[in-house]
């Protein structure tokens, strides 16, 4: 009897990836490696994207908006049924933390590659999650949950804010990714902030309920990766530090945490495992904590899905988290041995945004897209040269991840990699990320959630370098004179007219 290695006793699954871009590529490749056939779904404005080329089959969805396409449960389930897919991987964002979708997938007789609907529900509603964690003995940030989301709730919130004290954070109960979140430093700012948070929450999640947390300044954002299989095993894969954030969006993530000790890792790891077990968690998940300067840590929230920054954990633990997700969903035991952390990994998020101009999203063609290469460098992206960056989706272009034996060497590698990264035609934050690698708190590992604001209180600007500006001006003028803009597809300015004829054209002539 033959068994395929790594699938002993597991289900044969055909995986529909209910996502797009970079994470769809990551999942489709993992499925290919595991021998699972794949189906991609694709909105009309995504036709021809890289991820559609990595799938065995592609179903073109109809509709222009995200609501009509990647958030359209009926259309996605119809695609699964049409193609005979037997499992759904939601990736991150979109429907990944929607309990109703997890339920619908299961009711359609498909395998949901993620935790149960009830676990998603308990963790997805941030107020319920705080209550569940308190009950499980996991410390939560001091704050208050407020019931109801009508106009009257604003008055109740204002009263609760007085009890919690300023500065504070307003958070959407259904929130995530910084949406529906506002920091409030004094009572005078409260009404406008609460109205903004509420409106953003209703627009993004259809739920305007808001809760309040004390703003613990000077804290680090430290999160623990957990994995749980259907055979009763729940483990953690150590921490990631993601303190460097801009408007609550992470931009620089690393593992292990630069200030972590084995004792603290064990304590936080155990708290994370307890959090997962409290909701009978299955699959990959992340328990986020705030680590206060006092060394105390508090539960922030649990993300019940694969996370953007999962690669740094993969590089230091040697665990392929997406592959484990597939294994667990197919009913196999996870394959990880005891936790072993080796070296240091750093990830930065490349955004199509103008860092020198308030980080406004930018659009344009990727006329040149030339990532760095070499040992210890990993690029997770959903784009390639020639693609167009549009305002339709999230502006994240790629994740650049490096691994080196030590933190210092990892930073050196990241600096080199960012210097080598060429993106022309669309403004990116590459130079900002490069500058970040030289910032004192990043170099010495003392980053906190306010590091970016502390470093650049009135916005970031690239360093002024007259000599390079002039050299660039010379390059631009010379390129115009040389006619370099009249390039052909091979990137050679003068085509095949120069140099010896290509052997392939000769071949074609011989065999017409």
């Amino acid at each position: 009897m033959e068994t395929i290695e790594g699938r002993v006793g597991g289900l044969e699954i055909k995986v529909l990836v209910a996502n797009r871009g970079e994470i769809a590529c990551r999942i489709l490749r993992a499925c290919k490696e595991a021998g699972h056939p794949t189906v991609a779904i694709c909105a009309p404005n995504d036709d021809g994207s890289l991820f559609t080329e990595l799938a065995d089959e592609v179903v073109l969805l109809s509709g222009d908006s995200i609501a009509e396409t990647y958030l359209n449960q009926q259309q996605i389930l119809a695609a699964a049924s049409k193609t005979g897919a037997t499992a759904v991987h939601p990736g991150f964002g979109f429907l990944s933390e929607r309990a109703d979708f997890a339920t619908a997938v299961s009711e359609a007789g498909l395998v949901w590659i993620g935790p149960s609907a009830s676990a998603i529900e308990k963790m997805g509603d941030k107020m319920t999650a705080r209550q569940t964690m308190r009950a499980a003995g996991v410390p939560v940030i001091p704050g208050e949950e407020v019931d109801g989301d009508g106009e009257g709730a604003l008055a109740t919130l204002r009263q609760a804010a007085e009890r919690v004290g300023y500065p504070l954070l307003l958070k959407a109960s259904s929130g995530g990714g910084g949406k529906g979140m506002r920091a409030v430093h004094e009572p005078g700012e409260f009404d406008q902030a609460a109205a903004g948070a509420r409106r953003e929450a209703i627009a993004a999640f259809g739920d305007g309920r808001i809760y309040i947390e004390r703003l613990l300044s000077g804290s680090k954002h430290v999160e623990i990766q957990v994995l749980a299989d259907q055979h009763g095993r729940t483990i953690h894969l150590g921490e990631r530090e993601c303190s460097v954030q801009r408007r609550h969006q992470k931009v620089f993530e690393e593992a292990p945490g630069p200030t972590m000790t084995p004792e603290l890792r064990e304590a936080m790891g155990q708290a994370a495992v307890a959090a997962a077990q409290a909701v009978d968690y299955v699959g990959a998940g992340t328990v986020e904590f705030l680590l206060a300067p006092s060394g105390e840590f508090f539960f922030l929230e649990m993300n019940t899905r694969i996370q953007v920054e999962h690669p740094v954990t993969e590089l230091v633990t040697g665990v392929d988290i997406v592959r484990e997700q597939l294994r667990i969903a197919a009913g196999e035991p996870m394959s990880c041995g005891p936790l072993m952390i080796r070296g240091h990994a750093i990830e930065v998020r490349l955004y199509a945004e103008d860092a020198a101009n308030g980080f406004l999203p930018s659009i344009g063609p990727l006329a040149v897209f030339r990532p760095p290469e070499g040992p210890g460098i990993r690029l997770d992206t959903g784009v390639r040269e020639g693609d167009e960056v549009t305002p339709n989706y999230d502006p994240m272009l790629a994740k650049l991840i490096v691994w080196a034996p030590s933190r210092g060497e990892a930073l050196e590698k990241m600096r080199r990699a960012l210097d080598e990264f060429v993106v022309l035609g669309t403004t990116t934050n590459i130079e900002f990320l490069r500058d970040l690698c030289d910032a004192v708190p990043v170099v010495d590992g003392s980053t906190t959630t306010t590091t970016i604001d502390d470093l650049w209180p009135s916005g970031w600007n690239p360093p002024h370098d007259l000599m390079l500006e002039e050299a660039a001006l010379l390059a631009a003028a010379s390129a115009e004179t040389m006619g370099l803009h009249r390039r052909n597809a091979t990137g050679d300015s003068s085509g095949t007219a120069q140099g010896p004829p290509s052997p392939f054209t000769t071949l074609q002539r011989r065999y017409p």
Binding site: P361, E431, M467, E470, L474, A476, A479
Partner: protein, 155 residues
């Protein structure tokens, strides 16, 4: 070999000097390299490769880890200046309009809120003045660069 590029301080005229295979400017020199790249010899004696690409009228140049943009001004063209106009920094939807025509605003006062890429962006008055036109209402889609409102600066 005269080219004009736009800058914040007005147009810059660049007169290239041809020196054999190379072009020179301000002590830097450049020659053509493979795959559409340029080899630069900087005046400090260092060399580097520059990647270049032209998108519309703008030359994008990457060298030494830095990316520069130089917009070429075609001879005879005049750049349209929208004095006092506030333009949309990105394509999006108007969420809120805080002012009406004729309103007097202070510098820093919020004028409009746009939504793009699922985030809110506030348009604020950079100078004190009087609103002379409001071109978009709540719910309308705006293109990048569209003039949203016009303000006459207070004298």
């Amino acid at each position: 070999m005269q080219h004009v590029f736009a800058s914040n301080d007005g147009p810059i005229e660049v007169a290239l000097v041809k020196d054999g295979e190379a072009y020179t400017l301000e002590g830097h020199s450049v020659t053509k390299h493979s795959h559409g790249r340029l080899r630069l010899l900087l005046r400090n004696g260092r060399t580097c490769l520059a990647h270049v690409a032209k998108v519309d009228d703008t030359w994008w140049v990457h060298l030494n880890g830095r990316t520069f943009r130089w917009e070429r001004v075609e001879p005879g063209s005049s750049s349209a200046s929208d004095e006092g106009g506030l333009v949309a920094p990105m394509p999006g939807k108007v969420l809120e309009v805080h002012v009406n025509e004729g309103d007097v605003v202070e510098a820093g006062e919020p004028l409009m809120v746009l939504e793009a890429m699922k985030m809110e962006h506030r348009i604020v008055a950079s100078e004190a003045g009087k609103v002379t036109a409001v071109h978009f209402g709540v719910g309308e889609q705006v293109a990048q660069g569209a003039t949203l409102l016009e303000i006459e600066e207070a004298s």
